[in-house]
Amino acid sequence: MAKIVGGIGTSHVPSIGKAYDMGQQEEPDWKPVFDAYKPVQKWLAELKPDVAIVVYNDHGSSMFFDKYPTFAIGAADSYPIGDEGWGPRPLPDVPGHPEFSWRLAEELVYNEFDMTVCQELSVEHGFLVPMNLCFPHEPTWPVKTVPIAVNVIQHPLPTATRCYKLGQAIRQAVEACEDDLRVVIFGTGGMSHQLNGTRFGHLNTDFDNDFLEKIEADPIALTNLTHQQIMEEAGAEAVELIMWLTMRGALSDDLTRVHRNYYAPMTTGMGLIALEENA
């Protein structure tokens, strides 16, 4: 039986990818960002997952508003590095696990989560920054992946509760899979940030730290947040945080927190939490 062994909540700020590619990891303002991931890299190297399910959103790389799916699942052999408008990052293509993706899609759709299945999908910062920060990638990535894309950029968005329930359905789907796979799940995006209007640059570190507390200990409280509340408190683009609830919904309540970090240097609260299943 396939099994979820851990979950990671992390921001996916695109400038981190650029800084990584330019070798700025040791620069004083950047160092806290990259150092925060070292314990998580070590933990994942010991945990040895076979598959990473990455819940992210496409920011206009592989998906556009002509048809923008609310929930989509990748089912490709390999995911090429997308071009978001400034050329693809110098990273190797990311391996997929199409048989597992299709199994998950079957279970999810029959469990009333009507996923769009994508057999061609390039991946971008929402997916790549978390992968890049948590796993080595030379010469290739050590895990296969299942991208799950959520619409968090064009309202109406799925509710926080719906995202949490998707996570619960993902757990059931994983456990219904006969293959003996160790699975980790990423919830990405956020934390507080706003990229439009005169409120551009809005941060709310209190909100972010409370969210980091509750995602571990009381996720149900977070599912009660409306998009309006999240946007008022933490900025219009902070609604990405509902994707962390998909990660959390896929975990049990018997968890050990491996690591947690928060840093708000520029325009986005950069949060990180890593949770391991005890059983």
Partner: protein, 120 residues
Amino acid sequence: MTAQRDKSKIIPGTTIFDGAESRKGYRINKFAMSFTKPENREAFTADEEAYMEKWDLSDQERLFLRDRDFRGLIEECGGNIYMIMKLGTCTGHGLYHVGAQLRGQTFEEFMATRNASGVR
């Protein structure tokens, strides 16, 4: 069903990218999405006017683009920030330049408001 948005309650300084914005911005966002192909970025850089001619853009959208007025493209034309940043990057205007414009500040004024502006 819990209402996810309270449209009567405007969040100051905030535009919510919803159906109305996406309809209004469809032309400029589609144009911007074309910049995910290197050949289109090259064609725009080589001859902006000729490239814009190939697309269904309004006079106002062309004007804002010529003026590098990203605030106008976002706030008045329905531009989505992630799409508009493709135009910004191609014309040498990073996110914090665009953000400063949105706030009505200079780049330097905006950067002075940040906690650790080496993260850029």
